[in-house]
């Protein structure tokens, strides 16, 4: 029997994100208050969107969405000098990978986690696999705002 999504099931992703920013740039990201996203599945409202799909005891997705400016700034902080789309996408993919690893540790081996995929909001329409209300957790870093959308449903 699998229980409803617990706050700690979401907190692991925010912790992973703050840890990523702190480790990569030396500056933590500030998590803002979470809210319910009434518009349905992950909203791809930023330039770069990294998404992992989850199946098994929980079904759905976790999406990290960030504007180009934020990612450029992260690259700068990391000492990079190339600011191509590819490098921006790499950062989002890396973050999605971090989320994936954290999910695997938290939920156990019984959970199926897809490889991270980059979604372009202008070209792609994403059909969510969970049908409950997703949680949106905005985070602020250096004046930019990124979003984490946790859309998981117990099966």
């Amino acid at each position: 029997m699998y229980t409803q999504l617990q706050p700690q099931d979401i907190e692991i992703f925010t912790e992973a994100l703050t840890h990523y920013f702190l480790a990569s740039t030396g500056e933590p990201a500030a998590i803002r208050s979470a809210y319910l996203l009434n518009t349905g599945g992950p909203v791809l409202w930023n330039d770069f969107n990294g998404l992992i799909e989850i199946s098994g005891e929980y079904q759905g997705s976790v999406c990290f969405s960030a504007p180009r400016g934020l990612l450029s700034h992260v690259l700068l902080k990391m000492g990079e000098s190339v600011f191509s789309d590819e490098r921006h996408g790499d950062i989002v993919g890396e973050i999605a990978n971090t989320l994936s690893g954290r999910a695997r540790r938290h939920f156990g081996e019984g959970l199926g986690i897809s490889p991270p995929q980059l979604l372009d909001y202008s070209l792609t329409t994403y059909e969510p696999t969970a049908h409950n209300t997703p949680y949106a957790i905005p985070l602020r870093w250096h004046g930019y705002e990124a979003n984490l959308v946790v859309h998981l449903q117990p099966t």
Partner: protein, 689 residues
């Protein structure tokens, strides 16, 4: 398993027989050796006898010649006679030896060639034939009688003439006897070699049989081991032997590792293993249970019901462990000589069974909850409940918008949490009035989540994640109730035209009365509800809001804080059943007055002062400077309650704050009159709109 010695002998019978034959052959070889040594000794004696015969014959001839010479010279002859006698006796002894007289070693003739035997016998016969005339002539010389020349001369003559012949015959006899001995020795050596060869062959056969048998045993053991390994490798249950030392035995099924999610090694201490995989309580209980099982006087059938390791949940810290979630252990005593030497431990994965049982229990609980919900809301006007649900959903969406829009600042999060708490408390009152108990419970849990946040000096954005989760759950519960209410509404809509005009105020007061009785029942108090209200065809919206939000809060407060328990009331000389009275009246100036009255313990300003200081909300000095009215006004501050611990009906400190907010929205007024141990009366005055 012990086996009897007889069965062991049967198994090794061939080997025992072979070893017996080997020993027999060895004994035979030894006997032959002894026999051969005796034969050699006898043959040596016969060869010596032949030599002695020759020497005696010459000694006799020499003695006779010496006697003749001494006799002729008239010298004494005793020495010569003694020499002759000695030679004669020597010859006769040798003859006896060669003729096989008593004392000689018998046997051996079967190994001697017959021709040689005949030859020896002939030669011996010839010697005797030659010897006898000499012996006849010599014998008189050895008598104690005077010698005469004739007798001596005859004897010398016989001895000298036959000496060469006798010597020659004795030499021949010696050679024949020697040849006979050589032939016999050769035959006996062959027999000896054959016996040794036989013994060696027998020894080789024993070794061969032993190796074959050992090899067969090894093969059987290897096959048995292979079969055991196949069984242990494929059996789904975890199996192993638990030794008296409480360690894991060598033979164990491979599924154990899968069940436990990590390797279980032979020799591991079982109690340490248990304390790693299950709770300390289960591990300790199992330790005592296993101790009892090792007691030979205890029959395991008597203890099966007490097994503490049935359907136990395995510890899964950080969800790192793979394997079963729930397992059952079974223990079987293994007895030898009426002693429990080990326990066979069987472990079963019962995760699916436990999951199904729990799902069934959960489904039953959900079904019961839905029936309770249905029965709860059936007592109320479905339209009223639907309105409440819509309003609740709207309020919660506003909360969600605030969560989305709130800017992180020092005060913005605490203020938002206070607003959420007040909204929830209002909704809880309404939900309780309308019999939506599942929503009341969900809000109560939501409030419990907010309480620690309200006491924190600083709140971060991620502290609000549980708030969003609780909001989602509450909305889901409201949606569930809404779907039930919609069905009831559709059912009611079919017959609404057949019924007369309803009185909405009366219906609302009925709901409030039911709510009050439920609160009293939950708090183990006895309450009588009285209501008095004018008949209204419709309730003005501003009054409806107060009836839904403020009146339930005041009634809840009256019962939770005001009305004493039946025992307390009796001690104070009051009726054990308390009175809560709700009155609605029109004033001549158009003002509507709503009064909630209870005959409980009243509001004690001095008690409130103590609470304010105890909760560190005010210093003793500040409290001392406050008037009683100011102290009572603190009841309307959000988060202040005179109760030490919150329960579902009171203690959050939000009820009167909700009333104050509701009245403020419609510009209403509130008065409180109270006397300790007598009554409390809240009077709300609502101006006409």
């Amino acid at each position: 398993m012990k086996s009897s010695p007889r069965i062991s002998l049967g198994k090794y019978r061939d080997l025992v027989l072979l070893i017996a034959v080997f020993i027999l052959i060895d004994a035979s070889v030894s006997a032959i050796n002894i026999y051969i040594s005796h034969q050699i000794e006898a043959d040596a004696s016969r060869i010596n006898a032949a030599g002695q015969m020759r020497a005696s014959a010459q000694q006799l001839t020499k003695g006779l010649l010496t006697l003749e010479m001494e006799f002729r010279a008239g010298q004494p002859t005793q020495t010569s006679q003694a020499q002759i006698s000695q030679a004669r006796l020597g010859f006769l002894d040798a003859q006896k030896v060669l003729q096989g007289k008593p004392g000689q070693v018998a046997g051996g003739s079967f190994l001697e060639p017959a021709a040689l035997q005949i030859q020896v016998a002939d030669e011996l016969a010839q010697i005797i034939q030659v010897w006898q005339p000499i012996d006849r002539e010599v014998a008189p010389l050895l008598l104690n009688e005077p010698l005469d020349m004739e007798t001596v001369g005859a004897a010398v003559n016989k001895a000298v003439t036959r000496n060469n012949r006798l010597t020659q015959l004795a030499d021949d006899l010696g050679q024949s006897v020697e040849q006979l001995a050589q032939q016999k020795t050769s035959s006996m050596r062959s027999i000896q070699m054959a016996a040794i060869a036989l013994a060696f062959l027998n020894f080789c056969f024993i070794v061969f049989k032993f190796i074959v048998r050992l090899s067969n045993s090894d093969n059987e053991a290897a096959q048995a081991r292979q079969e055991t390994e196949r069984i242990m490798g494929s059996v789904r249950e975890g199996l192993f032997l638990l030794t008296r030392e409480r360690t894991v035995g060598n033979q164990r099924s491979a599924s154990l590792d899968k069940l436990f999610g990590h390797q279980l090694k032979p020799g591991d201490n079982f109690h340490q293993v248990l304390s790693r995989i299950c709770t300390l309580e289960n591990a300790e209980a199992a330790e005592h249970y296993i101790d009892v099982l090792f007691n030979r006087k205890i029959k395991q059938a008597l203890l099966e019901q007490l097994n503490p390791l049935k359907e136990i949940e395995l510890i899964n810290a950080n969800k790192q462990r793979k394997g079963a979630t729930y397992v059952s252990f079974e223990f079987d005593q293994i007895r030898e000589d009426n002693e429990v030497v080990a326990l066979l431990v069987s472990i079963f994965d019962v995760s699916d069974e436990v999951r199904l049982e729990r799902e069934l229990a959960s489904a039953e609980s959900r079904a019961k909850g839905e029936i309770d919900l249905l029965l709860g809301v059936l007592d109320h006007n479905p339209e009223t409940v639907a309105e409440f649900l819509q309003s609740a959903r709207r309020n919660l969406q506003l909360i969600n918008q605030e969560l989305q829009g709130v800017q992180p600042a020092l005060q913005s999060y605490p203020q938002l949490i206070n607003r959420i708490a007040r909204t929830l408390h209002g909704l809880k009152g309404e939900a309780g009035t309308l019999g939506c108990n599942s929503i009341t419970q969900e809000i109560h849990e939501f409030e419990a989540l907010l309480t620690p946040l309200r006491g924190r000096p600083s709140i971060q954005g991620d502290d609000l994640i549980p708030v969003a989760v609780a909001l989602s759950r509450l909305l889901a519960e409201i949606a569930k109730v809404d779907s039930i209410i919609n069905r009831i509404r559709q059912h009611v809509a079919g017959r609404s035209n057949t019924e007369g005009q309803s009185d909405p105020l009366w219906e609302t007061l009925q709901s409030i009365e039911k709510f009050a009785l439920k609160v009293a029942d939950d708090l183990n108090k006895k309450v009588r509800i009285e209501t008095a209200a004018p008949r209204l065809n419709e309730i003005p919206p501003h009054i409806a809001g107060i009836l839904k939000q403020a009146v339930p809060q005041l009634i809840r407060n009256a019962i939770a804080h005001g009305i004493e328990t039946p025992e307390e009331r009796e001690q104070q000389g009051k009726a054990s059943t308390g009175l809560v009275r709700v009155e609605i009246a029109h004033e001549p100036n158009g003002t509507l007055t709503m009064t909630v009255h209870d005959d409980g313990r009243g509001i004690s300003a001095s008690h409130l002062r103590t609470v304010l200081v105890a909760r560190n909300l005010k210093t003793p000095e500040e409290v001392a400077e406050m008037t009683d009215d100011q102290v009572v006004a603190m009841l309307f501050e959000p988060g202040f309650s005179s109760l030490d611990q919150a329960h579902i009906h009171a203690g959050r400190g939000e009820g009167l704050a909700v009333v104050k907010d509701a009245l403020r929205e419609i510009d209403g007024r509130l008065r409180i009159t109270s006397r300790v141990n007598s009554h409390t009366r809240f009077i709300m005055q609502l101006k006409p709109i």
